[in-house]
Structure formats: C-alpha cells, structure tokens
C-alpha cells in the first residue's frame, strides 16, 4: 500500500456519485472524509472504504443548509486531513437535490430549499473551505454540475438554474483562488444511475456510478474548468444549445 498523500473530502458523501468517487479515490490510495447529514450511514461507507482499500476513512457531520456551521466544519476537516499525515485536502462537491419542476411549482418552500442547498449551501461551504485550501498551498475542487444547467428545459429549469448558478460561482471561485494553487473542475454531468434518477423514466446515455466516477477521477487529475461527463454529452449539448428557440420550445424536453 503506497503512503497516503492526499485526502478527498466528499461533501454529500452519502450520494451515489459521492460514494462511487470515494471508492475510486480510495482505490488510488487517497484518504477519504465523507461529509453529510446521515452520519450512521456515512460511517458504514467509511468502514467499507477502510476494509476494501486499507486507507483512512472517516465520517463528518455536515449540513449544507446550516450555513453558520460551515466555518467550524472547514476547520474540523483541515484537522482531520492533517491527522492523515499530509496537508493535501481536495474536495468533491457532490450533494444536491432535484425535486421535479412540478413539485417546485406546487411548493415554493421546496423550490427554495433546492436553491438554498444547491447554490447557497454549495457557495457557502466552498467559501468556508477556501482558506484551508489556500493555507495548504492549493488543492483540487471538483463539483457536480449538470448538463441541465446549460439550457433551461421545461421539465427541470429550476434545477438547471441552480446548476447554472453553481457554474458561474465556480468560475469566479477558480479565478479568485487560482493564484493560490486552487484548481477547479466543474463536471457537466449527464444522467447517472443514482438514487436521484432512480424514480425517473429511463434516461438516454445513462452512466453507471462506477464508470462515471472512474472518468471523473481521470479528469480530476488533469483538467480544470468545465468538462462534460460522460464525454458523449459534449457534442449532444452542443447540438441542443444550437437548436433555435422556436424549435426548442415545441420540443417537450
């Protein structure tokens, strides 16, 4: 087993994608911090990472909506990462909710909850963690964006709007902290076969979490900015973005 040289903090460590990415990172020898609300569950996943890969893995309580707690959370994570004997903390932003457009329209409080989770909570926790990343001389931030944020569709434009907002936030965040060695990659993800998409009808080009995580891991090693994942979504979204409004509006997407 090679020495542990980095720790990945998975924000939303109980998400399907977060779990799959944690497996990939641990397989490569990284330590893992799983952050989320359901600590008992996270601890089960952490035990699995320790057993399968022999890496340090720990669960940490985190709620995206508890903004006041984010700074303390960031400090706690820094301490935990240092406990792993190195100072390289990287982040995967993998929490988010996606109630349907219809549910959001029927229940404005639910709509607000989505915006607060996907945008406010994300921006807040990344902001709180920025000093930690800068303090260690940089780090990698990978975020789960979505192709839904590239063009608003009738079926999920509020969700899409949260991902578009996240994308703009990440651009500025990258620019702001680049000088300090912080590198940001926004994954413009197509559908992945997760708990989030399980209730939906079959989606096109749906990726398995393991395949998606393997690609995300590769991209996280070398790229920054934005990248479509799986890669097929780059041409597909280019085409979708090019459809004129009057045609687009007639498609019930």
């Amino acid at each position: 087993m090679p020495a542990v040289t980095e720790t990945w903090l998975v924000l939303g460590g109980g998400s399907t994608i977060g779990r799959a990415f944690a497996q990939r990172a641990a397989a490569a020898g990284a330590a893992v911090l799983l952050a989320g609300r359901d600590v008992a569950e996270l601890e089960r996943s952490a035990a699995d990472l320790r057993l399968r890969h022999g890496v340090p893995a720990t669960s940490v309580l985190f709620d995206a909506l508890e903004l006041e707690a984010h700074r303390g959370f960031a400090r706690a994570c820094a301490t935990l990462a240092q406990g792993n004997g190195h100072r390289q903390l990287n982040l995967l932003l993998a929490f988010g909710i996606m109630p349907s457009q219809a549910e959001c329209e029927a229940d404005p409080l639910l709509a607000r909850r989505m915006v607060e989770t996907n945008v406010t909570g994300a921006a807040s926790v990344l902001t709180a963690l920025a000093p930690v990343l800068r303090g260690q001389g940089g780090g990698v931030v990978v975020a789960l964006g979505s192709v839904a944020g590239e063009r608003g569709r009738p079926r999920n434009h509020l969700y899409g709007a949260t991902k578009a907002a996240l994308a703009v936030f990440l651009q500025g965040y990258a620019a702001r902290h680049a000088r300090h060695g912080v590198r940001v990659l926004n994954l413009l993800a197509g559908p992945v076969d997760t708990a989030l998409t399980w209730p939906l009808p079959r989606l096109p080009f749906i990726a398995s979490p393991a395949a998606f995580a393997a690609q995300a891991w590769c991209q996280a090693r070398r790229r920054s900015g934005q990248v479509h994942l799986p890669r097929i979504w780059a041409p597909v979204m280019a085409a979708i973005r090019a459809v004129p409004d009057r045609v687009f509006n007639r498609l019930d997407l």
Binding site: G14, R44, L51, V60, L80
Partner: protein, 456 residues
Amino acid sequence: MNLVLPRLNLHAASDVAWRSVALRGWGRLGSAPCQAARPERLREVADAVTSINGRNIIAHGAGRSYGDAALNGGGAAVLTARLDRMLGFDAATGVLVAEPGVTFADVIRVFLPQGFLPPTPPGTAFATLGGAVANDVHGKNQHVAGCLGDHVAWLDLLLADGSTRRLSPTQDAPAFHATIGGIGLTGIITAMALRLLRVPSNAMRVRRRRVGGLDEYLDAFRAARGATWSVGWVDALAGGAALGRGVLETAEHAAESVAIPAAGTRSMPFDVPGLLLNPLSIRAFNAAYWRRVPARGEERTVHANRFLFPLDGIGGWNRLYGARGFHQFQCVLPEAEAPRGLRRLLEEVGRAGAASFLAVLKWMGRPGLGMLSFAQPGFTLALDMPARPDSRALLLRLERITRDHGGRLYLAKDSALSPQGMAEMYPRLEAFQQVRARLDPRGRFSSDMSRRLGLG
C-alpha cells in the same frame, strides 16, 4: 471514528422511490413486471418494506437464480445491489460482516490477497451474499465444507413490520434455519457475519481427467473424496456405453500465488439465434471438449477464479440460448439411488435431444442447515436446456424420476417444480411455513416461485 459534533438536523425519513421494472431470472424465460426500490442506505430497506400498501414483496440480489426465485410479477421487489458495503473484518477469526449486496467477486478481490476465500463459492462470483444465503449455496468443496449457511455466524433479518432481528444458531434458531435457504420468504437479510476460508495462496493446482462413463464417474468421485475441491463436467449428449462420460476436475490450494489474470472479460452482446445451438453443433462441441483433455490427464496451476468461476469470463453467456431463454434442471439423488437415477435422467434427456453444453456432476457430503436447503448426501446433476415448446413436459418427467429415486430439485435453478413435488422433496416444508407464519403473519414476502409452489 465519527467526529463528535452536536446533531444539527434530524434527518427526515425519506420517501421511497419506486420504479417500474421488468425483472428476469438468469434463464431469461420471461420477464416479471414489478415495482422496485433500490435502497442505498439501511433505513431505506425498512421504508420500502413498510410502504408497499399491502402489495407483496421479495428481495432481489444479482438475479443469478435461473428461474423465478427472485421475481415477483405484479408485486414489489427490493433490489439489494446498492447495499454493498463491507462493515467489519476480524483477521484473527476470518469473520466478515457485510451488507447483502456484497458479491463473491468483491470478497475475493479484497480478501484473497489477504489469504481468504468465501467459504462455499458458487459457480459464479457475481452472486450476492444475501442471495447466496437465501439459496444456501454450495461450492465445489461441498463434500468438505458444507453449504454457505454452515459458515454464517449471524444474520440481521428485516421483517415485514419494518423491525430487524438478529438470528443465529442460538438466537431464534428456527428463524435462522428458515432464512438460510429460505428463498427470501422470511424477510430481507440486511447484514450477515460470515466466516471466510483461510487459504495459503490465490492459486489452485487443478487436475483434470477423462472419465468414460457413469459408473466410472461415480467411483472416481468417491475415490477423490480426499480432494478439497471436485467437480465434474458431463457430456449429456453421449449415450450408450459412453453415457455419463465427462471430465473430472479436482483441485488443491497451491502453496504459491500466481499473477492475477487481466480483468477484461469478453461478453455476449446479443442473443445467439436458436439455430446455432442445434444438437449437432452441441454434440460436436462436447465431443471436442472431452477429447481435449489428454487420456492420461493433466495438471495445471491456475488462479482460483479460473477454477471456481469458469463462465464468468464470458459476460452475458446466458444469451447464448437465444431470446426464448433456457431452463436449468438440478437435482440431488441419495448415494444409493444415484447410479440408477442418474442413468434414467441422462437417458430421458438424451431421448428428448434437449441437453446442452453445461452439465455438471458433483458429489455432496453433509446436508445443508436450512429447512429448505438443497444439499443432501449423494450426487447432484445440473443441466441447461434451451426452452422449447416441450420443455415443461420434459421437466415434469425429470421431476418424476427424481422423486422416484428420493431426490430433490434445487430451487435456485428451478422454473418448473410442482407443488406436490416440493412438498415431497422438502420434508421440513411444514416447519418452514410455521416460522414464516410467525415472522410474517400477513404473508407479505412472496414471489413468483413461492406462489407457483403453493407456498403463498
């Protein structure tokens, strides 16, 4: 190892997400439309079971059972694939605590390098531990190691009312013995403690030799009783004096490990048209396979996976049998009846021209622990048969012969057993039904198989 912080937010019970799916058995005989939940956390299993509004429900693992054991047409299913975490391991005792969706492949990937194998690996590593307990599966070491249930220290079983009970030989033993081999009908196993098998290396020394006919085969198995692993392939198309000829494989653990074979698998991307699998092509394949083994036998050292899971290298091989699918028939006959019974079975299959590549013979030692465990001392024969209009009639005749000789059919493979046959072959069925009535008074756990067999 949790970071201790005050609980900020009580986690709200999640709504269970259901989706319409069409589940199939490995034999692809048909598909069973049902509502499926795929929990990713423990709590969601109970949420699923308690939110089905009177519909019945069954657990579904990797879907490697051939028939309808894990299907529930018109009802609900809990897919356990995403509950796949290993929760603890004690290297001193070899006890692994794991969720039900962990597969044999997972266990081997992690623990074979540390010198452990799953205790009774079935012929495919893609099976889940939960599904394997529910069929009390056996491996090529059955005559030495028994069945999987013999190596389970305890199980956590989620009951119809959403509560969970820990079961073991000393904690509600009847429920433990009903759940082992209980084809999912007592509840959903949410965790288990399994004693792994300590091995000296990742490799096995495999001896293969030709056997000319049935009686010679049975003798050869008995003579090989000292072997740790043994299994036989039978050319089910050979008749006359060659009836029951085949290749016997025995294996011992090698002292030294070998390099791990490349991960890549070939896969079968489409259904093979039925035409390709005609008796002539199968006959030619089988004869060639038999001759390939030199008359004096051969010995090779291979990675354990190669010996234990020869078919796993060909992904989706079950599509070989075309869109209509196939039946697998597996029975076990008591030792004294085996010579006559196996002969009659092979003759019957030969007459119908129904057999195929994969016929497997194995000698079994002690019976399984479970009330519906398949294993009993004697010989077990398994064969694949492409589905044809006359298959069910043939399967009924094979059932008849099995009953005549005091044998039983394996539910993991079954798609055709009759309720009468079930009652006769499984003498502890009544005890099983009593435990079920106690654990699940409203009969929530039910499957296509349980209804077919008249078990409710």
